[in-house]
């Protein structure tokens, strides 16, 4: 299995390379290092969100409310900044992350304590969180001129030649990688998704583990809320509307099994990058936005088909054994 997984990620690296080669053939400047850096920077928020979604999906759940959480946390960050321009930016980021975590905890608690299917819970909270933005803002926009310069500048500020946004996403990748591979909680995510019944007997609290995954996805959505609003210098009810599908698509393309228990940080990052390359490259080689959507959709289906085949192979082995019993 480890081999197939490794291959799966190599496959994705190969696919991205082929994609880049095709784009270069039509538009050579795309692969200039500076442009690739821009593409990465542009994909950073998607990567951060995909990391959170990955943890949730690993536990056999899903978080449809991430984009709404992002929008609500972002709106609150922007409103805080507009109301108290003197508030230090780290405090605002902390507030956004805290609010995001709280919203994630609500999802997690509903899944854990009320045992409601995750897709229903997060579909519900998606709508509620969007509604809350409207209630808070009265439907008004917070525009660039209402935000302080420091608020808008942070993601763009450069550190060793790269924007802070890119650095932040790299830090998040490292932290989540550490969490997944080097802590008991990370191991529990895999165990809960791989075999929830067995996890119970192993002394893992399945509900609490899922709750933790939702906290993580909420915290990362909250962080992304600040990043999104400050980067685009605007906050309104509908920011990142529909982005939850991109996040899930990145995970699926990255080989994270919707059935839970299978997936890696590298997969989530590569899946997000794949989508990022497509989004950034197709306009420059004059492919219409509608074709872009179709291509993204096609990629998702191909990715799921490849993963499903890998999993079916595994399933057959189990069946053969069951019959021998």
């Amino acid at each position: 299995m480890a081999n197939i997984l490794r291959n799966r990620e190599l496959l994705l690296v190969g696919a991205i390379a082929v994609l880049l080669a095709l784009i270069t053939w039509r538009f050579p400047p795309f692969v200039a290092p500076a442009n690739l850096g821009r593409v990465y920077n542009d994909t950073s928020i998607l990567i951060i969100l995909a990391l959170g979604q990955m943890a949730v999906i690993l536990t056999r759940c899903i978080d449809l409310s991430m984009a709404a959480n992002l929008a609500l946390s972002g709106m609150v960050a922007a409103m805080l900044n507009a109301a108290f321009p003197g508030l230090p930016i780290p405090l605002i980021i902390l507030a956004a992350v805290a609010l995001g975590t709280l919203l994630g905890m609500i999802n997690g608690a509903l899944v854990w304590k009320l045992d409601i299917p995750p897709i229903v819970v997060t579909l519900g909270t998606l709508t509620i969180y969007r509604g809350l933005i409207f209630l808070l803002s009265g439907g008004k926009w917070i525009n660039a001129h209402q935000m302080s310069d420091a608020f808008k500048a942070l993601p763009r500020d450069e550190l060793f030649g790269f924007p802070v946004l890119s650095w932040l996403s790299l830090v998040m990748i490292a932290l989540v990688f550490l969490l997944m591979s080097r802590t008991a909680l990370g191991r529990a995510f895999y165990a809960v998704g791989g075999n929830p019944h067995a996890a119970v007997y192993t002394g893992i609290d399945v509900g609490r583990t899922r709750f933790s995954a939702y906290c993580l996805s909420g915290a990362l959505a909250g962080l992304s809320g600040y990043l999104w609003v400050s980067r685009y210098a605007v906050a309104y009810v509908d920011i990142a509307a529909g982005f939850e599908l991109d996040i899930i698509a990145a995970c699926v393309i990255g080989g994270i099994s919707i059935a839970g228990g299978i997936g890696t940080v590298a997969g989530a990052v590569l899946g997000a990058l794949f989508l990022g390359v497509i989004k950034n490259a197709l306009p420059v080689i004059n492919i219409s936005p509608f074709a872009q959507l179709a291509i993204s959709g096609l990629v998702i289906i191909v990715a799921v088909a490849v993963n499903a085949r890998a999993e079916r192979r595994k399933g057959r082995v189990i069946l053969r054994k069951a019959e021998a019993v």
Binding site: T183, A198, V200, T202, I204
Partner: protein
């Protein structure tokens, strides 16, 4: 016996079987499930099929209903030889099975369940609902059920669901009805309704195969019996000519205990004391002591409440009352992780569902409950994990190319070893093994038994839940028999006999 055979001859010559199996054999890799088995079912007669777990009853039912194909032998209906390549073919030939948990659709109406796949159509080719419901009502009343055919199945109890299953059998004009432990999940009153129904089916001329572990009901409703043991048919005849004692003897019928690697261990002081354990629906009044170095067997029929009790003991479910002492100290266990910390571990029965975590490599499966021990300041140490996993998988003689490989790639026996290694690595005081050798090959079985014996010799206390009499008799120092959620008997190793176990488990009074 001679009389009985003569009588049987006259019976068979008078009546043609509704279905007859001749010389049926069926093997699975490593196991011969059925060997040269013959069985005839007669119209208007109830044949009881009796045998221990693993005697081949389920395999036979699956062959009769087209789920398995026999390797050898013939099936004939009337004078014609038939083949059931699929379950649908068996149903068309008039064979239907009613299982313990009925295989119906909860969200469909009663009438839809009865006519699923062969609903009456109107002239536009659409389902004729009026006729469907009217026909369903007629069939239900034939089955003796006064049910509204339009209500959803999920609103019915199990007994009523059985009636729906039988109405369905009537709707496809089934001639052979197989009832696989139909009363296992029924209440007292429902059981009597079921008996009445069996009588009606008999009067209707159906041939009935009735599988049951309960001797009282076999003697109440069956006309004939067939006893299976280890995949062969050992005896058959008329119920009127046989006694309960004789059936028990036929069913068990062999000397056991010699091939088990049970070591003589000096039994020490009590380690675990359970008193007054009860649960609102599953079990009550469970009291026992487990001593150091002891293997305590828990025997009983499927559904006697053994696994339910064990799960409650380790905190998966909560008992409504009861106390546990471990090494003399009162212990409150609210979750499996608390049980593990206290030193009580449970190796569950369903390896697939509750045991190994497919997708995780072997070493991570082994270390999962021991991560706090292999970690340093909150971070996992893979080297420690590998060392721990290597230590215990080596002790269990696990055959794997690498500890890094997915546990799903291992054979059933090796998966079981990984699961046991996982629990031993937690260094428990008490280990509960639920059906430790169910469905694994003979070689792995021997390894598990030898290891169990070794554990007891090292001073661990073992509870072994098993439904296999040879295993229980071969491995246990003491045996507790459970029946219907209560302790029905306690036996020391010296006084163990298979007959005593079966009697206690089935609730048969001691013969005078």
């Amino acid at each position: 016996m001679v009389d009985c055979l003569l009588l049987q001859d006259t019976l068979t010559s008078r009546m043609k079987p509704a279905i007859a199996l001749e010389g049926i054999s069926k093997s699975f890799p490593g196991v011969k499930a059925l060997s040269d088995v013959s069985l005839a079912l007669y119209p208007g007669s109830v044949t009881a099929l009796i045998g221990e777990n693993g005697a081949g009853k389920s395999t036979l039912v699956k062959i009769l209903t087209g789920i398995y194909q026999p390797d050898e032998g013939t099936i004939s209906v009337g004078d014609q030889e038939v083949h059931f390549p699929t379950a649908l073919e068996a149903a068309r030939a008039g064979v239907t099975a009613i299982h313990q948990e009925t295989v119906l659709f909860d969200e469909l109406s009663v009438a839809e369940n009865i006519f699923l796949g062969h609903a009456p159509r109107n002239r536009f080719g659409l389902i004729d609902w009026k006729k469907l419901n009217a026909d369903a009502r007629a069939l239900l009343s034939r089955a003796g059920a006064d049910l509204d055919p339009t209500i959803r199945l999920r609103d019915l109890g199990i007994a009523k669901k059985h009636l729906v299953a039988i109405a369905r059998a009537l709707s496809i004009d089934a001639q052979v009805v197989i009832m696989d432990e139909p009363t296992a999940a029924l209440s007292h009153k429902e059981i009597h309704e079921l008996y009445a129904l069996v009588e009606r089916l008999k009067a209707d001329g159906k041939a009935i195969l009735f599988i049951s572990h309960k001797f009282d009901e076999i003697f109440r409703i069956a006309d004939r019996y067939t006893v299976f043991r280890d995949g062969t048919m050992v005896d058959e005849g008329l119920i009127a000519d046989v006694s309960q004692d004789e059936l028990v003897r036929l069913m068990v019928g062999r000397a056991v205990g010699s091939v088990y690697p049970k070591k003589d261990v000096a039994i020490g002081e009590p380690v675990l004391t359970v008193s007054g354990y009860r649960h609102p629906t599953e079990f009550e009044d469970i009291n026992f002591e487990l001593r150091r170095g002891e293997i305590l067997g828990f025997y009983g029929l499927v559904g006697a409440g053994r696994s339910e009790f064990m799960q409650s003991l380790i905190g998966v479910t909560r008992p409504s009352a009861g106390a546990v002492r471990l090494d003399g100290e009162v212990l409150v266990i609210r979750s499996p992780s608390e049980a593990i910390r206290a030193g009580i571990v449970y190796v569950p029965e369903e390896r697939g569902r509750q045991g190994a975590i497919i997708g995780l490599p072997i070493f991570q499966n082994v270390t999962l409950p021991s991560l706090s021990r292999t970690s340093r300041s909150g971070f996992l140490k893979l080297a420690n994990e590998f060392a721990l996993a290597r230590e215990y998988t080596t002790r269990l003689d696990l055959r794997a190319a690498s500890l890094d490989q997915d546990v799903g790639t291992l054979s059933g026996g090796n998966q079981q070893k990984v699961v046991i290694a996982k629990w031993l690595a937690t260094k428990p005081k008490v280990i509960i093994l639920d059906e430790p050798t169910k469905g694994i090959d003979i070689g792995s079985k021997a390894a598990v038994h030898a290891f169990m014996s070794e554990l007891a010799a090292q001073g661990l206390s073992v509870i072994m839940v098993s439904s296999e009499i040879p295993e229980i008799m071969g491995m246990s120092d003491r045996v507790i028999v459970m029946r219907e959620g209560r302790i029905a008997g306690r036996f020391e190793r010296a006084e163990l006999t298979a007959e005593k176990l079966v009697r206690a488990a089935a609730g048969i009074q001691e013969a005078a």
